[in-house]
């Protein structure tokens, strides 16, 4: 019965090496490719992310249905609507300004990008600043919109998991169609040669 609850060094390194390998091959070390998502010229970020989300969601759900995965054992982030929204806005703004998000800045650094290294330095500053400011004001802001019935759409809104999977699969198809339409109208996705040459 899964999960194995292997939270040691080997499990971390194996997952991490594969994660970094895939992200670099997707082109996610390049800030011009990544921010193309916000300019609507390169939809690779959403295409890759939503393909992965739908595949993993279907796979994990299927494993649970056939009894391979123990129910209610996988970690689900707490449903904190305000904290997720404020944090999402700050990360989206930081991404547009700095060219990366936390994970992709590690990938950018590994492909030789000094700007990604500087972004990582910023991550440390931002994290330290948060710890410094953390107190009642931040805590009460983060608690706004906390869902008391649970953390998933099934818990709070009664939307059964297969229906969620259907909605997410429809969104995935929509993202590929819409994204490819935008990409055809513009300069097209950033190629590996353009990424290696650097943003123009």
């Amino acid at each position: 019965m899964f999960p194995l609850h292997e939270s040691g060094m080997v499990s971390g390194l194996v997952c991490g090496v594969l994660f970094g390998f895939v992200l670099e091959n997707a082109g996610f070390g390049s800030p011009s490719k990544l921010t193309g998502q916000f300019r609507l010229t390169d939809w690779s970020v959403f295409k890759v992310m939503f393909t992965a989300i739908v595949l993993a969601a279907v796979g994990l759900w299927g494993m649970r249905v056939v009894g391979l995965m123990a129910p209610d054992t996988l970690f689900v982030p707490q449903a904190l609507v305000m904290a997720s929204a404020v944090g999402g806005a700050l990360i989206g703004a930081g991404f547009a300004i700095g060219g990366y998000c936390p994970g992709t800045s590690m990938v950018g650094m590994s492909s030789g990008r000094l700007d990604a290294l500087v972004f990582v330095v910023g991550l440390f500053i931002g994290t330290t600043a948060f710890a410094g400011f953390y107190g009642d004001a931040i805590r009460s802001m983060m608690a706004i919109g906390e869902m008391i019935d649970g953390d998933t759409f099934a818990d709070v809104y009664g939307i059964a998991d297969p229906i969620m999977l259907g909605i997410m699969a429809a969104c995935l198809v929509g993202i590929f169609y819409l994204g490819s339409w935008f990409e055809r109208r513009g300069p097209g996705p950033v190629t590996a040669e353009q990424a290696v040459a650097g943003a123009e």
């Binding site: 994660f19 970094g20 921010t35 997720s84 998000c101 931002g126 948060f130 590996a192």
Partner: protein, 176 residues
């Protein structure tokens, strides 16, 4: 599909198609859940390094800090799953970049923004993202990607606002 780089020696392999990369990422994400019971992440490692370095260098201040104290109360968190995972991520990405001829030391965005402005924007963006990841309790990987795969409400709120903010800010601030 291989292209010669201007220096004549470099052979740059193309990126994987988004569908192929997405399938591979989905399988890695599933593996992470099957092995550990949780998804992939990134920003948590930075938090654990801050807490661990704080404990080593300024133990009183770290133990007095209400955010860091719970992380260091059971010892130094630097050897946690997420720090190993991010170390692996750095190694895996470097392997991929070297194998594909895509490793190049550069200040990306220097040509479009100028080196001074590029460095300031990278630092500011990283600071905002680092702070935001602590507010949200995760980043694009740990909350958006991993949470969405288990139908988390927070994950979809995060992804929606993240995209809206990115779209809006990139209208007003020239990025790379």
């Amino acid at each position: 599909m291989k292209a010669q780089f201007p220096d004549g020696k470099r052979v740059v392999k193309p990126f994987w198609s988004p569908l192929a990369a997405g399938i591979a990422l989905g399988l890695v994400l599933m593996l992470s859940f099957v092995l550990s019971g949780h998804g992939l992440g990134a920003s948590g490692a930075v938090t654990h390094v801050v807490a661990g370095a704080g404990l080593a260098m300024a133990p009183e201040a770290t133990l007095a800090n209400p955010y860091l104290k719970p992380m260091v109360s059971e010892g130094n968190p630097i050897g946690s799953w997420i720090t190993w995972e991010v170390l692996g991520m750095i190694i895996g990405a470097a392997i991929a970049a070297f194998m594909a001829g895509r490793f190049r030391v550069q200040l990306d965005g220097e040509r479009s923004l100028g080196s001074g402005r590029r460095l300031i924007q990278a630092l500011l963006g990283g600071t905002l993202a680092g702070f935001g990841a602590r507010v949200a309790g995760g980043c694009t990987s740990g909350l958006g990607l991993s949470g969405a795969a288990v139908f988390s409400i927070s994950a979809f709120v995060f992804l929606g606002v993240f995209f809206a903010a990115g779209l809006l800010v990139s209208r007003f601030v020239k990025g790379v």
